[in-house]
């Protein structure tokens, strides 16, 4: 392979893809540089080889199958409807999530005081009949003292 500074331009020259002044410069160079001239001939030979292959013609059944796809065209109106339905479904989903979330927040907290504790009625003070002897004696003294203070 040629390592001349023009070597990488020979490929583009072969394809006729160089600007006119560049193309003229490469053309002139090919007349003077045997390495690049040989490179150009190699590329032409490879191109002829590739293009000489007659690729198979498309079988009729392949064309027929491609035609069948034409009957399933998604039209613009169908696409717009699909987009609208998708947006509507997304909005409904968001609304449901919002409703569930809001309902969840109004439920009593797990660590709050149990209902029975808040509403339980305090057990009435023990009655005399059930109180111990010491308790009844203490009450008698308390009651008596309160009566004497009232007489003074």
């Amino acid at each position: 392979m040629s390592d001349c500074q023009y070597t990488d331009r020979v490929s583009s020259y072969l394809d006729n893809e160089l600007a006119p002044d560049e193309s003229a410069a490469v053309e002139s160079h090919l007349r003077e540089c045997p390495d690049c001239a040989r490179e150009f001939e190699r590329l032409r030979g490879i191109r002829s080889f590739l293009r000489a292959a007659s690729l198979p013609e498309m079988p009729p059944e392949v064309l027929h199958r491609a035609h069948l796809q034409c009957g399933a065209l998604p039209t613009r109106s169908v696409m717009r409807l699909a987009v609208r339905l998708t947006l509507a479904a997304a909005a409904v989903l968001l609304a449901c999530v919002g409703w569930l979330w809001g309902g969840h927040r109004s439920l009593p907290q797990a660590d709050s005081e149990p209902t029975w504790a808040a509403t339980a009625v305090a057990y009435p003070a023990d009655k005399d009949a059930e109180a111990s002897v010491e308790t009844r004696l203490a009450r008698w003294f308390a009651d008596d003292l309160s009566m004497e203070s009232g007489r003074d």
Binding site: S11, D15, R42, G45, F49, P56, M58, V78, M79
Partner: protein, 184 residues
């Protein structure tokens, strides 16, 4: 007066089945040959072509008309061919066997090939293409079989024009290396 590509696309977008069929009729043959060159066999070429049109009709809304319809379709075909290659497994290094006599004559710059030797030559070309890396095979097919310009290849591949030039240069070097025994 046949409808322009832009008119066909516009009508197909609105659900005109006849416009879609016209698009298929206009491009299927070339695209099939490109697909065959890319994947090397008729069955995969058929699949790639069908997937190309299926993708094109689904994505008609994304065609902006900045490139030609052919270039746009070719870009879709290349992606489908790459998918086909991936589904086959990793690219293997292929050693080129002896080329047929017709192939040698062409490479040596001698006379044209009789049609009776076409099949041998085609098999040799497919074998040579199979030795290339996927990127190099792709760009060789676009240039030598599809006849796309550098700007069209840049559009189809989504790469800058400068990259097209350098990639094509390296692809041809790789080809020349594979065929060195047969080149003058």
């Amino acid at each position: 007066m046949p409808a322009s590509d832009a008119e066909l696309v516009d009508r197909a977008r609105r659900g005109d089945e006849f416009a879609a069929r016209e698009i298929v009729d206009r491009f299927a043959r070339e695209l099939y040959r490109a697909a065959f060159s890319m994947v090397g066999n008729a069955a995969d070429a058929d699949d790639v072509l069908q997937e190309t049109f299926a993708g094109a009709f689904r994505g008609l809304g994304s065609f902006e008309g900045k490139s030609s319809l052919k270039t746009w379709l070719t870009g879709i075909l290349l992606r489908q061919a790459a998918r086909c290659h991936r589904s086959r497994g990793a690219h293997k290094t292929v050693t080129l066997d002896d080329l047929s006599e017709p192939a040698r004559r062409v490479l040596a710059g001698r006379a044209s090939i009789p049609s009776s030797e076409d099949v041998d030559l085609r098999m040799d070309v497919m074998a040579v293409l199979d030795t290339l890396s996927p990127d190099h095979r792709e760009i060789i097919v676009l240039r030598e079989f599809e006849g796309l310009s550098y700007d069209e290849m840049a559009e189809a591949l989504g790469i800058p024009r400068g990259t097209v030039e350098s990639r094509l240069f390296r692809a041809r070097r790789e080809l020349a290396q594979q065929l060195r025994a047969y080149l003058p």
